[in-house]
């Protein structure tokens, strides 16, 4: 076991981890963070997506021991200060169905908009191509991300606040 220190959703957490523990298992089973889901355990489905220093990554493919000193955001942290514009739009447009992919999709889309506030449709599709969804057919997801980006362009100040 080795002690690591991470900044999890804005709070510094210390935890001893075994060298073979995945970040997903540590988050879910040891830190009570249940929004990253295990859908395949091998990086195919994207349900375990989290933000590692702002970048969308698959937590099932990362060993916890590797992330010492890094900052992790999960869905629990995204809406901590009220729903983001993306979350609000996903609710309003009745986008998700079973919801199992939602956490990963929201984090991947948030990372995209943070880096590229005005993505084209193909950029949105590319950014979310690693997040499988079996229910929605993806159209409402892609449309909503584009609509939120467009809305943010009209209200730049508001978008900065909600996209922190």
């Amino acid at each position: 076991m080795k002690d690591i220190s991470i900044c999890l959703n804005g709070e510094v957490r210390q935890i001893a981890v075994a060298p073979n523990e995945t970040l997903l298992d540590v988050l879910r089973n040891r830190l009570g963070i249940k929004t990253p889901k295990e859908g395949c355990g091998r990086g195919d489905c994207g349900a375990c997506t989290i933000l590692l220093d702002g970048k969308a990554v698959r937590s099932c493919l990362i060993l916890a021991i590797e992330v010492h000193g890094q900052s992790i955001t999960t869905l629990e942290g995204v809406g901590a200060n009220g729903l983001t514009a993306l979350q609000k739009a996903f609710v309003k447009n009745n986008v998700f169905q079973c919801g199992f992919c939602a956490s990963g999709v929201i984090l991947a889309a948030s990372a995209l908009l943070a880096e590229n506030p005005q993505p084209t449709e193909s950029e949105v599709r590319e950014a979310l191509a690693g997040n499988l969804c079996r229910c929605t057919g993806y159209e409402p997801i892609v449309e909503t991300v584009l609509a939120v980006a467009k809305q943010a362009a009209r209200q730049p100040a508001a978008s900065r606040r909600t996209r922190s």
Partner: protein, 807 residues
């Protein structure tokens, strides 16, 4: 114009906030504390083998292991419609991946390590890995005790063979009609197995508490059916319905794969083995592919006779289904198709044989579409081919033969309302039917197609729904039903139905996921029937609440019941415009009369629904005389496809789908079913390509090798069209829509490929590879190799089922 205020509007999903915040909890998210035990199963490497000996001694000594369970402790079978599935196999294993034992340990890692140390001694038996092998003379019989299996009365297994069920439908005189037909086309179409691929794999945690009560937290579409199946199978443990409680939190996708019972019953017996401690069993993605249920593969031989004008006069449709090692659910898919394989057409002379065949492949069961996607592939392809051979417009031929309200179905009952012709017209217009389009590049070609679809829920005649509805002090409500929210928006639709009757806003009606101790009964969430069936139960519960609200006010205020009505969460009076008593003022505490006494009390309502007009007891030789289906939902879909002539790559430029849902309850949710269903259908047509090795091993049980679509694999445009010909016995006229949207996709693609590049594919999936080969004049059958998506060898045209074939 509809006078509905809530029904027909896109209410925000009642589970929307839960899902975007992560508040939604799925089985694997539930915490059970440090006492939780973890189980891992030991699986068979053989498709068919005798179990000689299971040695658990080494595994039991491993650190962290608390118990190893085998079939010795649990010699019981189970099944929804027929008890042919083993909790743990007894004398033999019947497919690769079947559970032969389970290790229970303090951690998942300890359980996994120990599972590898369970030594199983097998004596391999000849494996039945093709329909030909299953049906040949002196075939190896996979279920020697088939004749003794408990089953529903509408199944007709043949003891001593591998035929689990044979549904025959006979109408008119087929032989004579073929004699009189102007044109006959006969051909064979094959559809492989498919996997559901919900994002959440199956999971169950069981607790057999110290008082002897079994509670299961299960990822399930069917909590009550699970309790029912388990009460039968686990009776030897002294359990009855009252001793079993199933709690189903949110489910991460079902698509039929979480209907009935599969691995949950293993979780149940492991919990029973560990009294007092919760035990979790969580399928890996690989197990999700191999050991829940798959969609059955099928070989369909179609002979259709028509008149010169395109009128279909005779259909002989023979389907042999690869059910796998267990048909406890799959045989009912076969049954449903055996009744409905005419498709949505009025055909005077019909002969259908739908034969369910055991093989040593993974068990199959319900999958969105329940056999209809499979048979529509051949049937719709066939109709287009006949139209082209006769020089008739394939769309006109469909309209000519389209089923209409009141037409006699193949089994003798009458067709329900539904406007198929309008669906065909709308779709044809939307895709510019008849206008040939030219591709922008010379190496590409564009094709168009239009296919019809229909589907009825396949359910026992007494499948029923119930609902409990209660008020809270603030005028909000709880609705306790046991239909399952598997993503389709069921909870929201039920809230909308109650809201319409009671004027309580949808966001003030909390609809909870099922708990068999607390929520009202529901048969199962399958067959696209819960909006209709449970919707009726909820409406009836809401009507009871409405009656009580009005009666309470009438009594307390000495007003006439006939003068009172509900609006804006108040009881109002037609006689006194100023009178409005808010629900929150009296629904719990009652209404105070001038003398200080109170009238009323907590207001609640219950409702139930059972389709009392149905019966599954038709003549076994003809299916005439029963009324096995409640209603069909009909529709049509068309698409515009671009084919790359060099690579075979298929790009769907546009899809239009019209479906007659009776009454839209929530347009966003219907649209969700249309768009999602189309992509799932297109995936089975173009991308998903399951492969088994020659020894029955599944070769691609993961998303790297079994490709489901991503954001980059979608049609460029989808146009959902909702038609509303009311269903007289549906809530506000609604009928089901969930499964139907994927049914037309495969024939749509096949026909559009044929239209674009004049290549007719009759074996699914219709991959780019097959198109490219066909365009080079290479027969796929010649190069496909040994690893197949279903258990057939050789060419479809060579398949011969004389031994088990139609009689």
């Amino acid at each position: 114009m509809s006078k509905n205020k809530v029904v027909g509007k896109s209410a925000v999903r009642v589970d929307g906030l839960d899902k975007v915040t992560g508040a939604a909890r799925y089985v694997d998210d539930l915490d059970f504390g440090p006492g939780l035990l973890h189980a891992v199963v030991v699986t068979s490497p053989h498709a068919h083998a005798r179990i000689v000996k299971i040695d658990t001694a080494a595994a039991e000594k491993m650190p962290g292991v608390v118990r190893v369970v085998t079939g010795k402790q649990c010699p019981y079978k189970f099944g929804l419609y027929m008890q042919d599935r083993f909790i743990f196999p007894q004398d033999r294993v019947r497919f690769v991946g079947e559970q032969v034992a389970a290790v229970i340990a303090e951690s998942p890692e300890a359980a996994l390590r120990a599972a590898k140390c369970v030594e199983v001694d097998y004596a391999p038996l000849p494996a039945v890995l093709s329909l030909d092998d299953a049906l040949k003379k002196n075939a190896v019989v996979i279920h020697p005790d088939l004749g003794n299996y408990e089953r529903v009365p509408w199944f007709f297994p043949r003891a001593g063979t591998n035929i689990a069920h044979w549904r025959k439908t006979r109408k008119g005189n087929v032989d004579q009609a073929f004699d009189e037909a102007d044109y006959i086309l006969e051909d064979t179409y094959t559809v492989p197995r498919y996997a559901h691929c919900p994002l959440e794999t199956h999971a169950v945690t069981g607790l057999f508490d110290l008082a002897g009560r079994l509670t299961l937290w299960a990822s399930s579409q069917s909590p009550y059916a699970q309790r029912g199946v388990m009460a039968v199978a686990l009776k030897p443990f002294g359990l009855s319905h009252q001793d079993i409680r199933i709690i189903t939190p949110y489910v991460g996708g079902g698509f039929g794969g979480k209907a009935g019972v599969s691995m949950e019953i293993i979780g149940a017996v492991l919990a029973i083995a560990m009294k007092g401690r919760p035990v979790k069993l969580h399928w890996t993605r690989e197990q999700e592919f191999m050991n829940t249920s798959q969609r059955q593969g099928v070989v369909a031989r179609i002979k259709m006779g028509v008149k010169k004008n395109g009128k279909i006069v005779a259909l002989d449709h023979t389907l042999h289904w690869d059910a796998g090692a267990s048909a406890e659910y799959g045989a009912n898919v076969v049954n449903a198709v055996g009744l409905s394989a005419t498709g949505p057409y009025s055909i005077p002379n019909v002969k259908i044989d739908s034969v369910c065949v055991y093989t040593n492949m993974p068990p199959c069961g319900a999958y969105r579409g329940f056999g209809y996607s499979e048979f529509h592939f051949g049937l719709e392809s066939h109709i287009t081919r006949i139209a082209q051979a006769l020089g008739i417009d394939p769309v006109k031929m469909r309209t000519l033969n389209a089923i209409r309200e009141g037409d006699t179905l193949a089994y003798g009952a009458k067709m329900n309302p539904g406007d198929l012709c309008k669906a065909i017209d709308r779709v044809a217009k939307e895709i510019g039917w008849g206008k040939k389009e030219k591709a922008a590049k010379a190496h590409k070609a564009i094709g168009k197609s239009l296919a019809c679809f229909w589907k009825a829920p396949a359910m026992p005649p007494n499948a029923s729904s119930a609902a409990y509805l209660k008020f809270n002090e603030d005028g909000s409500m709880n609705l306790a039903v046991s239909g399952m929210e598997i993503g389709q928006g069921f909870l929201t639709v039920m809230a909308q139905v109650a809201s319409e009757v009671l004027s309580v806003p949808v966001n003030k009606i909390r609809v909870e996921t099922p708990d068999t101790d607390r929520n009202a009964y529901e048969w199962q969430t399958v067959g696209s029937h819960v909006t209709w069936s449970c919707g009726n139960a909820v409406r009836s519960a809401a009507e009871e609440v409405k009656t009580k609200l009005i009666a309470t006010v009438a009594r307390a205020k000495k007003m006439k019941v006939a003068d009172l009505y509900l609006a804006a969460e108040c009881v109002k009076s037609r006689k006194d415009a100023a009178f409005a008593l808010p629900f929150r003022d009296f629904v719990i505490d009652g209404i105070m009369r001038p003398d200080g006494r109170y009238v009323g009390g907590p207001i609640h309502g219950t409702g139930m629904f059972m389709p009392e007009f149905t019966s599954a007891l038709g003549d076994p030789e003809t299916s005439q005389g029963g009324h096995p289906n409640v209603h069909y939902t009909v529709g049509a879909a068309g698409l515009v496809l671009e084919v790359d002539k060099e690579t075979g790559k298929l790009t769907v430029l546009k899809v239009a789908l019209a479906v007659d849902v009776g009454q839209v309850i929530n347009p966003d949710l219907v649209k969700g079913q249309v768009v999602g269903g189309i992509l799932q259908g297109l995936a089975t047509a173009m991308y998903e390509d399951i492969r088994f090795a020659a020894d029955g091993r599944l070769l691609n049980p993961n998303f790297t090798d079994y490709k489901i679509p991503t954001t980059l694999d979608c049609p460029l445009e989808i146009v959902p069209i909702m038609l509303e010909t009311p269903q007289p016995d549906g809530p506000f006229g609604a009928r089901g829509v969930g499964e139907h949207t994927m049914i037309a996709a495969a024939p749509n693609i096949a026909d559009a490929i044929a239209d674009a590049v004049d290549v007719r594919l009759k074996t699914m999936p219709l991959t780019a590879e097959k198109v490219a080969l066909a365009m080079r004049g290479i027969e796929y059958e010649d190069v496909k190799g040994d690893n197949l998506g279903f258990c057939f060898r050789g060419r479809p045209c060579d398949y011969c089922f004389d031994v088990g074939g139609a009689s």
